[in-house]
Each structure stands twice: as C-alpha cells, then as structure tokens.
C-alpha cells in the first residue's frame, strides 16, 4: 500500500453515521388521540408538545393539520409511533403541568403568558388582568388576550381558564362554546360567577377567616352563604380588613376604568 492509499483509507475511516435520533431534532411527529370533546391532533418535537388542534378545527383531515403545522413551524411533520409521554393521563385528568412543551415558536412574552396560564388549577378561572400581573406586565392585559389566542397547545396549556373579569367567559381559539363546555366539564361555578358579576362583585370573602378569594377558588366556594361577602375589588376587601387568599392570589388592581378598556373585546 502506498502512503497516499494509506492516508486516503485512513481519511475514509473518519466518516461516521449521524447518531440515532438526530432526525427527531429536525422533524416533529404527529398523532391523533381521543380528547375530552372528540379527537385531537397533537404534534411534538424532541423538546416537547408543540401543537394541538381539535379534529373539528382541521375538519378531520390529516393533511389540513399537517399544512397548518408546517405553515406555523416550518418543520417536517412525520407520523409518530406513539403519543408523547404523559399525554394520555394529562388528557384524562386535566392536570397538564407535568407535560413538556416546545414553545420555541412563541415570543418570550407569549411564553410567560402561557406558563402563567399553566399554573391555573383545574376547575378555576382567572381574569386576563391576573395573568398580566403575574408576569409583571400589569398593563398588558390586551396583549395577554392575544398571546392566549395564539396558544399553540390549547387544552394542555389551559388558556380556557382565563376569562373576562366582567363574568363572561371571553374568546377561545376553538370558539367560546367549547370554552364553556370545557369549564362546565371541570365543574367551574360559572353561574355563580355571572351572578356575582351582575351584582358588581368579582371577589368573595369570608367574615370568619377574613380572607378574600376569586369566586372559583375552592376556599372561596367553601364559604357558607351566611358568612360570604362579595367585593368589587381587592382594595375594597382590604379596606374592610380582609387579606388576599394565598392559594388563588387575588391582587389589588388599577382603576376599574383602566380594566374595562384593557379587557380583550370579542372580534
């Protein structure tokens, strides 16, 4: 063997296959799984779940789901052998905070909004303004509404648990009817919330504990009628000697006029 042959043989031996699984850093995978109201299309990457659409939203067409995924994420989409880890239990229980999400397609602000929405427990709702305060942008209430409307993984990041502070449920990516059905299924006391809102109350407090809550908070719902008081604002409750609940964390708001213009309006 000449030196040249030997060298080129040694060079050829430096070739290597890409490690197994590298394709999954490029391509996403999709599955169709049973959801709370019909089937769901779910796409995920090596980072986590990236995109969820209802069967109805894509007219039960695999191609329509793939096209909408590609338009938004510009990644190849391949069939998955099995659903992403934890998806089945999360859909059955409605507890989704343990799932991994791929939110790389969302802005930092949108990601902060989505992570905040993820902390709202099943069966409860919070106003848009609460999310805005949680992420340290109290005046960005309208932008919170837009960020939730762009939620790539509805149902799993429960943007349906964010509602308008006037007691109506507000918009939803799959329509407000579905939002209402989801909240009913989680046994949110929507009627009670509406009734309180009609009377101008957005918070409830107990005169035995001296604690003020959102009306959907389990601690607020436990208060018996005799000891329950409605409050227009957390400021009003505090003036009456109440302190905010540590579980649902209601916080003093800005002027109510501010809140009204800031609430997202239906399109």
């Amino acid at each position: 063997m000449t030196d040249n042959d030997l060298l080129t043989t040694e060079l050829a031996a430096l070739a290597a296959d890409a490690p197994t699984g590298l394709l999954d850093r490029v391509a996403a995978r999709w599955v169709r799984v049973p959801g709370p109201f019909g089937d769901l299309y779910v796409a995920s990457t090596d980072q986590g779940i990236a995109y969820v659409r209802t069967d109805k939203a894509v007219h039960s067409e695999d191609g329509a789901f793939a096209a909408s995924f590609r338009k938004r994420f510009a990644r190849p989409l391949l069939p998955a052998e099995r659903p992403p880890a934890g998806l089945g239990p999360a859909l059955r229980t409605g507890r989704t905070s343990g799932l991994r999400f791929d939110l790389r397609g969302s802005t930092d602000f949108e990601q902060a909004v989505l992570r905040s929405a993820l902390t709202i427990p099943k069966g409860q709702v919070r106003p848009y303004s609460w999310v805005a305060r949680q992420i340290g942008r109290p005046r960005a209430v309208r932008a919170v509404g837009s960020a939730l409307a762009r939620n790539p993984v509805p149902l799993l990041i429960p943007c349906h648990r964010v509602t308008r502070s006037d007691g109506t449920i507000g918009d939803y990516v799959f329509g407000s009817e579905m939002k209402e059905s989801l909240l009913q299924a989680e046994q949110v006391n929507l009627e009670e919330v509406r009734e309180l809102a009609r009377a101008g109350f957005h918070y409830v407090g107990s005169d035995t504990t001296g604690i003020v809550c959102f009306p959907t908070c389990p601690h607020g719902r436990r208060i018996t009628a005799a000891h329950r008081h409605g409050f227009r604002s957390v400021e009003a409750a505090e003036a009456a000697g109440y302190r905010p609940c540590l579980h649902c964390r209601p916080a003093p708001e800005q002027a109510s006029a501010d809140r009204e213009i800031a609430d997202p309006v239906p399109e």
């Binding site: 063997m1 030196d3 040249n4 030997l6 060298l7 080129t8 043989t9 040694e10 060079l11 050829a12 031996a13 430096l14 070739a15 290597a16 296959d17 890409a18 490690p19 590298l22 394709l23 850093r25 490029v26 391509a27 793939a66 590609r70 510009a74 990644r75 190849p76 989409l77 391949l78």
Partner: protein
C-alpha cells in the same frame, strides 16, 4: 466498468430517488433525503468542527434549513437539484455562521485559554472504532487551512466527486484538485515526524498486530 464508475452510477441513482421522493411528498421525501445523506453531512460536519456535539447541532440545523428551502421550491427546481452539493453548501454556511457566533462570544476570553476538550462521547465511542490513528488524523485535519481542509474532507471523508466539490466551491475543478493535493501533502508532513519519532508504527491500522498496542 471501473470501481469508481460503479460508485458514480449508484450515487446518481440515489440522487434520483431522493429527487423523486421530494417531488412526490415533501415530508416523506425529506426522510429519504435525510437517510440517504445523513452520513455525508454528519461526517463532513464532524471533521470540519472536530467536536461530536457541535457536529450534531450543525447537522440538525443544516437539514432543517434544507427543509425550509425545499418548501419554497417549485418541483422543476427540486427535479434539477444536485442534492449532495446543495446540502454541503448549506452545511458550510451553517458552519461559518456558527464560527462567527463563537468568535464573537469568545472575544473577551484570555488568549491563552485552552481550547475546549473534544466531546467525551467521541473519545469513548469513536476511539474504539478508529484507534489512535483516527484521532490523531482528525486532529491534524484541524491544522489545515480552511480551503484545504474542506476540500480534503469532502473528497476523502465524505467521498464527494471532484465535479460536485467544484460546484460547492464555485471554482474550477483544477483549483479543487490543487486544494486536495496540497492538503494531503500537508497531512503527510504532519504525520512524518510522529512516525519517525515513535519506534512502534502504532498508526498503521492495517497491521492487526499493532492495533491494540499502546505506543
């Protein structure tokens, strides 16, 4: 038919299969593209940047960019694509961008700072496969000027024909050949002192008696 011609026909068939698959269905075709050329792209990335983890990043990024480009191409354009030269061109762009970013990031680092050690996975996984020779040679490749290194890696590691390397470089074939021969010459020079210094020719992987001998 010579060996080289047989290989040429086989790769042309592979290129054709990839082009047809891409025109028929972009996402399914992308899997065919990936499977056909992952070794070409990963080997090139690995021998250019020298680090296993970086090579994974570069390969993933190059294939993602190729998908995004293909999504905007007309079928006629895909039909006339030279997939290997095209992928390698994308990879080289990704690599150059990553070098620029890395350079900006380390600008404030002291000049004497030791270079990062090679990825440990490469040590375990690849050392067994390649032996000492492979690692030494990979290190020597990194000492070549960029043009020579790229040309040598594309020709002899990735096994790309001269014509396609010329289209990657945008230079005449003669220029590419001269980069390659100067690169090989430099590698031989780098190997020579190591060889004359060591009594045992541990570098000869073709000699089984020495393949496990520690020099």
């Amino acid at each position: 038919m010579t060996e080289a011609e047989t290989a040429g026909v086989a790769t042309v068939d592979a290129d054709d299969r990839v082009r047809h698959a891409l025109v028929a269905d972009l996402d399914g075709g992308f899997v065919v593209l990936y499977e056909t050329y992952q070794r070409l792209v990963f080997s090139t990335a690995l021998r250019l940047c020298g680090r296993w983890a970086d090579a994974e990043d570069l390969t993933a990024e190059a294939f993602l960019r190729s998908y995004r480009a293909l999504a905007g191409y007309e079928p006629a354009r895909i039909g006339s694509l030279q997939p290997r030269a095209w992928l390698v061109t994308i990879l080289l762009n990704v690599w150059r961008n990553s070098q620029r970013t890395a350079a900006r990031r380390t600008q404030s680092a002291p000049l004497e700072a030791a270079p990062d050690p090679a990825d440990p996975r490469e040590d375990v996984e690849r050392a067994v496969e390649l032996g000492e020779t492979g690692r030494e040679l990979a290190g020597m490749l990194r000492q070549l000027p960029d043009q020579q290194r790229i040309a040598v890696v594309l020709r002899h590691v990735a096994d790309l024909p001269i014509t396609e390397i010329a289209s990657v470089f945008g230079s005449p074939e003669g220029t590419v050949k001269s980069h390659i021969s100067r690169g090989l010459q430099r590698l031989r020079e780098l190997q020579a002192p190591a060889e004359s210094g060591a009594r045992m020719p541990a570098r000869r992987i073709s000699d089984p008696a020495n393949s496990h001998g520690g020099a």
